[in-house]
Symmetry: C2
Subunit: 210 residues, 2 copies
DNA sequence: TTGGATTCTGGCCATGCGGTCAAAAATTAG
DNA sequence: CTAATTTTTGACCGCATGGCCAGAATCCAA
């Protein structure tokens, strides 16, 4: 797998094909989990869907745990990068908050399998310790991003006085909660309507009172 | 298990001890899932935690599927009954909405294991069909309850004009999303603060504009 | 071309699972 | 007390899983 002599070869520790395979397997895993559920997504099933032998997964990943971890990383980094790019284009705090919410829902609508998979994985952290780790590694950065937007909006005088941490958790929660219902049944929830409702609601809730 | 001659004995189809055992096993399952995760909650583990033999579960339940279904039923009926009792005490729509939100968080704080278990089970519905069934059986009634509150508030003139279905999904989503983060790490989220924030936010968002 | 390193295959294994069962224990009825 | 019935036990089964590995195939530099 890795070179034996050139063990610390600067930046090129992994070959091109290595990274391509890992990406392929991670994307295949997301697809399989989304359509069949995590409980049915055995290594054999994932390998079959991708069209490779089961051993390839074991060869490129330390185990199923690492594969799932990479899936989580892929889901979060993709989503966050998209949201961040939209937020950064907005000129002031109120519009950055609005961009955050709208980008979240736009990305959801375009990548439903990612969120079906995410919800499946949510329930797979056995120990309380594993749950805390997931929260610290994946969720906290999102909340911090939001918190920064809110805090700067207060400093600029656009937002009223509130606890940025609490409101960040509330915004994140509202987005995720609507997303959850949409994952269960996409026809039961109108994403665009909910997004618009959340945008106006949080605008009302954050703007400085006259 | 059941009487053989008195097969249609009016209302008493299940004995007293039968129901007691079922309740005991369901509660044990909730506790085991909350502390170890659904993936580790085998029938053997649950039986061990309860202090009975594995076969007893198979004797009182058709299989693990039925047990999990009963767990879900227990979680939702308990929660909904509490919320409904609080909502029914409120005199008008705005206060009923407030009671709904506050009761949700009050029940959460007092029954954390229930919600840890619920989140674990959320991800266990493999097929899209199973997800839809769960949504229709468990989630829709909650949304309908909320929708009724909102609609009556519009009819009475307390609330502005909005889509009751969309706003019901939004309220439910906001509650569940905050709950989710709290399940991952209870110290990262201040439930009381979030509840207060949601109450004032949805009050602002629903009240009729002057 | 050649030889070593990398990547892939398909079968194998130990483990733990849900479920079943005959027999033992406990409970209830007569 | 005794017999019938319900309930519990612990061992057992078939099965699917994640992980492993020897050898085949492929790639790549010399």
């Amino acid at each position: 797998m890795r070179s034996k002599i050139v063990q610390d070869g600067q930046k090129k520790k992994t070959s091109f094909i290595e990274e391509a395979r890992r990406r392929q397997i991670v994307e295949g895993a997301i697809s399989t989990i989304a359509s069949a559920g995590l409980s049915q997504a055995s290594l054999a099933r994932i390998a079959q869907d991708v069209g490779i032998s089961k051993g390839v997964i074991s060869y490129h990943f330390a185990g199923k745990d690492e594969l799932i971890q990479q899936v989580i990383n892929a889901l979060f980094t993709e989503t966050n990068r998209f949201i961040k790019s939209r937020v950064d284009q907005a000129p002031d705090a109120p519009r950055r908050l609005r961009a955050f919410i709208e980008a979240s829902f736009e990305f959801m609508a375009a990548n439903r399998a990612n969120f079906v998979t995410l919800v499946d994985i949510w329930g797979s952290f056995g120990s309380p310790e594993a749950k805390r780790r997931f929260n610290a590694d994946m969720y906290d950065p999102c909340r911090h991003h939001l918190e920064g937007i809110l805090r700067r909006g207060q400093e600029s005088g656009d937002f009223r006085d509130f606890s940025p941490a609490t409101l960040a958790a509330t915004v994140q929660g509202a987005i995720d909660g609507v997303m959850l219902q949409w994952v269960f049944d996409e026809e039961a929830i109108d994403l665009a309507d909910c997004a618009a409702e959340l945008v106006t609601m949080f605008d009302l809730a954050t703007r400085r009172r006259a």
